[in-house]
Symmetry: C2
Subunit: 267 residues, 2 copies
Amino acid sequence: MTTDYSGSGDPARSLQLLWRDTRHPTRGPRPGLSVDKVVAAAVELADAEGLAALSMRRVADRLGVGTMSLYTYVPGKAELLDLMLDTVLAEEARPDGAGGWRAGLELRAREDWALFHRHPWILQITPGRSLLGPNETDLFEATLRVVDGIGLSGTEMVLVVNLVADYTRGVADTAVGAAQAERRTGMSDEEWWKAREPLFDRYFDPDRFPTVTRVAASGAFEQPIGEGQYTVAWARESFEFGLGRLLDGIEAFVATRPAGPAGPDGV
Amino acid sequence: MTTDYSGSGDPARSLQLLWRDTRHPTRGPRPGLSVDKVVAAAVELADAEGLAALSMRRVADRLGVGTMSLYTYVPGKAELLDLMLDTVLAEEARPDGAGGWRAGLELRAREDWALFHRHPWILQITPGRSLLGPNETDLFEATLRVVDGIGLSGTEMVLVVNLVADYTRGVADTAVGAAQAERRTGMSDEEWWKAREPLFDRYFDPDRFPTVTRVAASGAFEQPIGEGQYTVAWARESFEFGLGRLLDGIEAFVATRPAGPAGPDGV
DNA sequence: CTACCATACCGTACGGCATACGGAGTTGCA
DNA sequence: TGCAACTCCGTATGCCGTACGGTATGGTAG
């Protein structure tokens, strides 16, 4: 499935919810639920069973209310997804500037990575435009601060911060997808490959794919098989390798700028 | 929506379809359709209206057949998505080694980028395990070849190739999401921001977000507004900037390896 | 030439989904 | 005391993927 997602509803309502600008008018019956409870239930469900299992019915069931009651707290599913996203963003530790910009960006990337693994559904909701939620803004502020005063222009600061975030999203998308394949298909990686290898060999022509053949023969695809978690370990190494290269590249770029406390107005 | 996706069906059948290993038994009535026609119709529909609009019913309508007739050609929607993906992969130009590894990886990244824009739905189907389809394998072969013989081990070759692909996927996910937001919400970026700015200002506290405030004041968020396509232009610059940094980082890494035609068996 | 039967085609039905609509019950204030 | 504002939610509509089983087609075996 795909989520046709957000931004369509009433902006004022969405922002109010995101920033929890909700004073309860004292008139009617006391609400039995709250936005936070609905969001928490939805996050739990999505974590446990995936975004595909996240339906308004299931969330309502989990809260012990009728489906339509949710619509008292949340305008619709799209907005609920927005709220879920900004909510889990609060879980990330913020870089604090210790260790310089490189350590700061590393921290941000690793926190993103961990978050994507903890809440894989994040990767399945299309990014679209910015949410303008409090936690997203918070995180952006903290990360911008990390690359502040090292000689970059405002535009360059934004470029660098987004670059690291986008890279992490990309690897995580692949890695999390692979990690979840087992759950989704009810088949371990080993079983999966065992089932396909003999069939694949019928189509795989070494003359057509000589380099793949050679690389495969070198053992590059055989990862250290551990407790069945080997895909995860391999993915993490892959992520760290790429992060290292990326930061090396950024470092070279930063070195070309006039160092010092130039601030975002420079250039 | 989200697509619970693939790998679940019969492997033999999936691989046969992917590699078009389909000889028609001469018995019954002549088939009016073919796998290719079904896939082509599905791709057209997804391109035109997005993955959310891709239903078996709509594909069948487009082909002038009953819904259930599709199941003669394709085991189910998950497998159809697999086929769609491997099919559009054929559109990418393959790097041919001219200009060395850096130019080769650049070409691959730009081809991926273009493909993601041409077929945004690719980004919405969860990667999971490899398809083992012909075009995917082809592309992998061509890209591996580009980093062959420059001193990398087999594992390192795979790391580098995947790194570039993952980076591109990440930026494209963001960029395509933003580019499509207009279509999805029926609202231009300008309208969208106009509707939210005054509301957002009520929550945005400059003391809490000083760096964002300063960077915004420096004009880093005001992109050259052109024909309404400015988001696209900005995204492309952003992609090229990141690609440059990434390849710089990889270049530094390659420089640490013993150059020469070591091949994938080294280290 | 007939009978068989693999295959293509597809109508119907089931259980899921988001959510529009409107009614019933509850509470605080005028 | 009464009504307005509010929560809760049953029902219905129109989507979805696809299981099931029926019918039409047409090459081939006898």
